[in-house]
Amino acid sequence: MSRVIPYHEALREALALCLEHDPRVYLMGLGVPDPKGLFGSTTGLVDRFGPERVRDMPASENAMTGVALGSALAGMRPVLSHQRVDFALLAMEQMVNQVAKWHYMFGGQRPVPILIRMIVGRGWGQGAQHSQSLLSWFAHVPGLTVIAPATPHDAKALTLAAIESDDPVISFEHRWCFNVKGEVPEGIVRAPLGEAHVVREGADVTIVASSYMVLEAMRAAEQLAEDGVDAEVIDLRTVAPLDRVTLARSVRKTGHLVAADIGWTSFGVGAEVVSAVVEDAFDALRSAPRRVASPDVPSPSTPALSAGFWPRARAIVDAARAQLGRAPLPAEGPPPFPLDVPDPTFTGPF
C-alpha cells in the first residue's frame, strides 16, 4: 500500500532519489539549502548530499540559468529552482534563447538535460509580482517541455521523469498544492512526459485542467455529480507539448469542453486547449467551449478582491451547467472561510 504524504515531501523524495542514484544531478537555487528548503521540498537534502550538490546561488537568475546550461553541456544534470515564477523572468533570455533552442540550432548534437522548477504563488496577498502563472509563455516556445504536477504522486513521478529527460523541462509547482496529501509509492516512480491523464472518467462534459485547477476541477466534478452530471476530468500534467489526442478523444465522448487554467484567460493554456479541440474534434462539439481562468488584470493583493480574481470550483460548475443548458445554481452565500488561503488551517505568512 502506498503511503499518504504531502506534495512537498513527494518533491523532496524525487530530488533525493535523483541525487542518490546519479552523481551528475545537482540542485541549485536561492534558498535551496536553507532551513525552509523551498517550502519543504529540499529541506535536509544539504545535510545528506553536501553543499556542492545542494547549492545556494547568487541572486543572478540569468547567469545561473546559463551556468546550468553550460554545466549540462559539460555532462551534468542540473535542477534550478525559483521560489517564485516571477523571479525566473530575469532569466527569460537564457531560457528562451539558449536553453530551449540549443539542441535544435546546433543540429541535435548534445542533450540539454535541465529541470527548472518554478513555484507559483497565490493568495495571502501575494500581489502582482509574486503570483503569476505563466505556463503559456513557456509553452509557446518550441524546445521546452512544460509540466505542472497537481498531485503528490505526480509531483514525485513527473519530477523524476523530468530529471531523467534529456530535454529541458520547466516545472510549475503551485504553492496551493504543496500541503495537499495523497498516495505516493516509495522508491522510483515515473509518470510519462507529454501525456495527459484522465483522472475522472465521465460521459457528459470534459473538464480539462492543469496544476492547482485540477483540484478545483475534481471538486467541481463532485458538485456536478450531485445534480446528475457526469464530468470527465483531464489533468494535462504536461502543458507543452500538448496531448491533443487525449483531449479530442474525451470531447468525442462528451461533446462539451470546459478548460480551466491557473493563468490569465487571454492567450492562456485554456485558449490553446479550446483551439486544439476545435481543430481536432469540431464536429463532436455540441456547445461552445468555455474557459475558466483569471480575468486579464494583475493579481490584486487585498483579500477583498480575491474571489473575483481566482476562479474556484463553482466557476467550473457554472460553465459546465451552461453548456448543458442547465439553469445556473442559486447564488452562493458567504464563503465558509477566506478565499485567499488554500484551506482554513493556513495562517501565513506563506
Binding site: C18, S71, A74, H103
Partner: protein, 317 residues
C-alpha cells in the same frame, strides 16, 4: 592567423554571389586573440563565442569544411544547416557553440567550467566576448560567480570599439578601461594590443595554468579592430561613423604583418608565401565541397526540437 585571414577574405569575396544566405560577421583584423588564446588550450578545453565567431571556431580546431558548409546551409554543416554563421559548433574540439545574443555565452562558459569541475575534470573554459557584452548585466553576474567559485574560466574581451555602428564613447564611461571590470570582481586582468599575438599567447599560457591549478578566472581585454563592416563583406567608411584615417591607423598595426615581421628571420618570406598558397588551395576545396553538398531534407525542419530520450538514473556518463 594567415589561415583565418584567408578564410575571411574568401568568404567576403564570395558572399556577393548570394549563395551564403546568412548574416556573416567577419573578423578580418581581429585574428590575434583567437589564435593567441586557443594555442594555449588543449583540444578538450571548452571555448564559446558570439556572432563574430569564425576565428574562434577555426583557432580552436573546428572543421573548415563543416564551417563553410554551415554558411551555405548544407546538411553537412557543423550545425546541419540549422545554425548558419552565428551558430557554429564543433564538439570534437571543445567548441561548445556561438550565439548572436550579445553576452549570452558568457554564463554558459562559466557553467561549462563549473560542470567540468564538478565532474573532477581539469578542463578550462574560454569565452570570447565583444566590448558591448560588458554592457549586459549577465556578464557581471557571470564574473561574480566565476570569481566566487574560483572557476577555471578565461574571459577574453575583444574590444573593437564598435557595437554595430555605435562607438564606445556613446556606450561606456570614459576613464574606465574594460579590463578594470575584472578587478571589480576580483579577477586577474590585463589589457593587451591585438597587434601582438605573441603577447596574447603568453598571457593565455599563464591564465590557463592558473585556471588549471584551481587559482581562478582571468579577464583579458584585447584592443583590436575590424577592418570590414559589422555584418557583411565590405568596408563601410562611407557610412561616416568612422574615418578612413582611423581604419588606416589600425591597418598599419596589422597583427599578421606584425607576426610576419617577427618570423621573417626564422622562416623566410618563401615559407610564408607557401603557407598562404596552401591555405588558399584548401579553401578552394572547402567551398567546392560545401556547394556540392546536399541541403537538409524537408523533414529535417521537425527533427531535433526535442531529443525525445531520457537517461535512467545512474545510467550514462
Amino acid at each position: 592567423m594567415m589561415r583565418l585571414r584567408a578564410v575571411e577574405e574568401r568568404i567576403a569575396a564570395r558572399y556577393p554571389e548570394q549563395e551564403m544566405r546568412c548574416p556573416t560577421h567577419l573578423c578580418v583584423g581581429q585574428e590575434a586573440a583567437p589564435v593567441g588564446v586557443c594555442a594555449a588550450l588543449r583540444p578538450d578545453d571548452y571555448a564559446l563565442s558570439h556572432h563574430r565567431s569564425h576565428g574562434h571556431y577555426l583557432a580552436k580546431g573546428g572543421d573548415l569544411d563543416r564551417m563553410i558548409a554551415e554558411m551555405y546551409g548544407r546538411e553537412t554543416g557543423c550545425s546541419r544547416g540549422k545554425g548558419g554563421s552565428m551558430h557554429l559548433v564543433d564538439l570534437s574540439v571543445g567548441f561548445l557553440g556561438a550565439v548572436p545574443i550579445v553576452a549570452s555565452t558568457v554564463p554558459i562558459a562559466v557553467g561549462a567550467a563549473f560542470g567540468a569541475r564538478m565532474r573532477g575534470e581539469d578542463r578550462v573554459a574560454v569565452v570570447f566576448l565583444g566590448d558591448a557584452a560588458v554592457e549586459e548585466g549577465v556578464v557581471h553576474e557571470s564574473l561574480a560567480f566565476a570569481s566566487l567559485e574560483r572557476l577555471p574560466v578565461l574571459f577574453v574581451c575583444e574590444n573593437n570599439l564598435y557595437s554595430v555602428q555605435t562607438g564606445l564613447e556613446a556606450r561606456q564611461p570614459s576613464g574606465r578601461a574594460i579590463h578594470e571590470l575584472g578587478a571589480a570582481h576580483a579577477l586577474s586582468h590585463a589589457q593587451l594590443h591585438g597587434e601582438d599575438v605573441f603577447a596574447i599567447h603568453a598571457w593565455a599560457e599563464e591564465a590557463v595554468a592558473q585556471a588549471r591549478a584551481g587559482e581562478g578566472p582571468s579577464f583579458l581585454e584585447v584592443l583590436t579592430y575590424r577592418y570590414l563592416e559589422h555584418v557583411g563583406p565590405y568596408e563601410d567608411v562611407e557610412l561616416g561613423y568612422r574615418t578612413r584615417e582611423e581604419v588606416d591607423a589600425w591597418r598599419a598595426r596589422d597583427p599578421i604583418a606584425h607576426a610576419t615581421r617577427a618570423l621573417a628571420d626564422e622562416v623566410g618570406p618563401e615559407t610564408i608565401d607557401g603557407w598562404m598558397r596552401a591555405h588558399a588551395e584548401a579553401l578552394d576545396a572547402a567551398f567546392e565541397r560545401a556547394i556540392a553538398a546536399p541541403y537538409p531534407e524537408p523533414e529535417a525542419l521537425f527533427e531535433g526540437v526535442f531529443r525525445g530520450t531520457s537517461t535512467r538514473l545512474g545510467e550514462g556518463t
